[in-house]
């Protein structure tokens, strides 16, 4: 269990708190928000939002990389 916690706490990139998108740089390219977090878990890569049922369920309209859960 300790290993699990350690690996989930390792250094990771920023995600947008608004749309959960993985962000390169200072602000989210999609919603323009600068409200970013490094405290996130789970990962989601959306390739075809039009046909993906997961995208629909998560209400994601754009392809890209997202966090499943953000604090």
């Amino acid at each position: 269990m300790e290993n699990v916690v350690a690996s989930s706490r390792k250094k990771q990139g920023h995600v947008c708190r608004e749309c959960h998108r993985v962000v390169e740089g200072e602000a989210c390219a999609v919603c323009g928000s600068g409200n970013l977090s490094t405290d996130w878990t789970g990962y989601l890569v959306i390739i075809d939002p039009e046909r993906s049922e997961i995208s629909k369920k998560m209400n994601i309209k754009l392809p890209g990389k997202y966090a499943l859960k953000v604090r």
Partner: protein
């Protein structure tokens, strides 16, 4: 909502240890580069599922096996497909306060009260916060903290 019949399949791909996110990125890379024409729609990497990624696809298992051969750190496709319904709970991850209820005795594992015991008074699942009162304190002041800053010591009455 009038949803069409679900046609997509979900397969689990075994990955090298701790490379779950890398595999998800690699799958996207292989498809973006045109190294594979297998139609993957999305990839889920649930925190709870160590050593696997889940792919949503309109293709059959043998096609996903072809894909896996081209993806670094991806190992094998598990036999048998699953449905979105079966993996939906990964998309709404369990709040960290689950397993804690009112009356649960907890120990603070972080923050200024680290090591103190407290009793849970209120739970805010949406914000993943709990309100506790220190157990041995003369003045029971409610403190609101993050649900993962405590360890459950005693489930209380509803054990």
């Amino acid at each position: 909502m009038n949803m069409p019949e679900q046609t997509n399949r979900i397969f689990a791909i075994k990955t090298t240890s701790k490379q779950e996110r890398t595999v998800a990125d690699n799958i996207k890379k292989v498809i973006d580069n045109g190294d594979s024409d297998v139609k993957v729609l999305a990839i889920i990497v649930p925190q709870e599922l160590k050593g696997y990624v889940l792919v949503e696809t309109s293709e059959q298992m043998n096609r996903i096996e072809q894909l896996v051969e081209k993806v670094p750190h991806a190992r094998v496709v598990l036999h048998g497909e699953t449905t979105l319904a079966e993996v939906a709970h990964f998309l709404v991850p369990k709040p960290v306060v689950s397993g804690i209820s009112e009356g649960t005795i907890v120990e603070m594992i972080a923050g200024p009260f680290k090591g103190e015991k407290a009793v849970v008074k209120r739970i805010d699942t949406g914000k993943e916060e709990i309100t506790v009162e220190l157990y041995e304190s003369v003045l029971p002041i409610p403190i609101t903290i993050r649900g993962d800053n405590v360890r459950v010591i005693d489930k209380g009455e509803d054990r």
